[in-house]
Assembly symmetry: C2
Homo-oligomer: 213 residues x 2
């Protein structure tokens, strides 16, 4: 990925935080000579391997687990908030007109070679961890053990685990770092005025780079 | 991409509508033996080529335009709303407990071989069309011609156009089609209760598959 120096995110805690809040990864690998993408909610284990390990599962009926490349790295892409940025939001534009539209986004790219797991204990434990993670925000968190045992067994039979030890992880935060503070503040206030969660999230990304108060 | 039959979106107008509302594409190609992804706002010209043509631009400083594969298809991924779905939202779960969490999403995958364009008239026209598209929602739409001429020229010198004639386009709408209507309605009402734009968009995807009233 092309990353101008000021768009490079090097803070591991910021990168991990995006994976946690936007866990649906786009996993791209080559199958039969063609690029193939699947959309999988991943968990990150930051403590396994040099750069951590991605953990997820796919439907057993999905041929990807039998056919992903084991010789060339997969790329797994996580996308945070993304928004169009109008030049009208920069106060400086109204002074000198030297402004352009752009698109803001924050993304994490991970490279590594996956392997698959069919062990039933691993799968049950994985589903417990994944479910507890995503149900934690619910008023009455559902648990895997709430389902009838034969139903859970059927479910385990229908999936295959995926682990991807991370060889390389890069973050690009393209969030107006090249702008002066007054323009960043203009972006933040225009995004917040929209009152939707994606715009608010982008506003918080931009606001992090407002240097002076 | 693995697409169970009931998740396959075959309505071209629905697919094109996602590209229009979520134009930031993830363009993946192989460079120097490694998968490489860039995030580019694309326009679709539905009338050029058998399945239409994607049109965008990259920074001239981004090596991708000199190095994308011209022998193997790129894949370009467009992602619409995506949300975690709690089994607690299905009324039927409260009857028999046979329910699972899932992740809903709608995505479009496009395959094709790009080419690049350095012609200044093409680039200026492209920027006009792209800007007018994205500024149309602004109270006072900004125009490329609002910027000083030397500034616009600098901008044109700093970008390269990209066109991708579409060889294959597929849509996967994984939005609870396998559920009964009462469960779909439970998802819709829980999503709408969140009052954020992504959840509302997902609610509209799910609601499209509620068959009986």
């Amino acid at each position: 990925m092309y990353i101008p120096k000021n768009n490079e995110e090097t803070d591991v805690s910021v990168i991990h935080s995006l994976l946690k809040s936007h866990p649906l990864g786009t996993w791209v690998t080559k199958i039969d000579g063609e690029l193939n993408a699947n959309h999988i909610p991943f968990l990150l284990d930051p403590d396994r391997g040099e750069h951590g390990t991605l953990i997820g599962h796919v439907a057993r009926a999905n041929p990807v687990w039998k056919s992903f490349s084991t010789t060339e790295n997969s790329i797994i892409i996580f996308q945070g908030a993304e928004t169009y940025i109008s030049p009208s939001w920069y106060p400086s534009k109204h002074e000198h007109g030297r402004a352009l539209p752009t698109w803001n986004y924050a993304v994490v790219h991970i490279h590594g070679i996956p392997h698959y797991i069919e062990d039933q204990d691993w799968l049950l434990n994985h589903l417990n961890v994944l479910t507890n993670e995503h149900e934690s925000g619910q008023p009455l968190p559902w648990k895997v053990s709430d389902a009838p045992k034969d139903f859970t067994q059927n479910m385990l039979d229908g999936i295959v685990g995926i682990e991807i030890p991370i060889k390389k992880i890069v973050g690009k935060w393209k969030v107006n770092q090249n702008k002066q503070d007054t323009d960043k503040r203009g972006v933040v206030s225009n995004l917040l005025a929209r009152q939707d969660s994606q715009s608010s999230e982008m506003a918080s990304y931009v606001n992090r780079f407002v240097l002076s108060e």
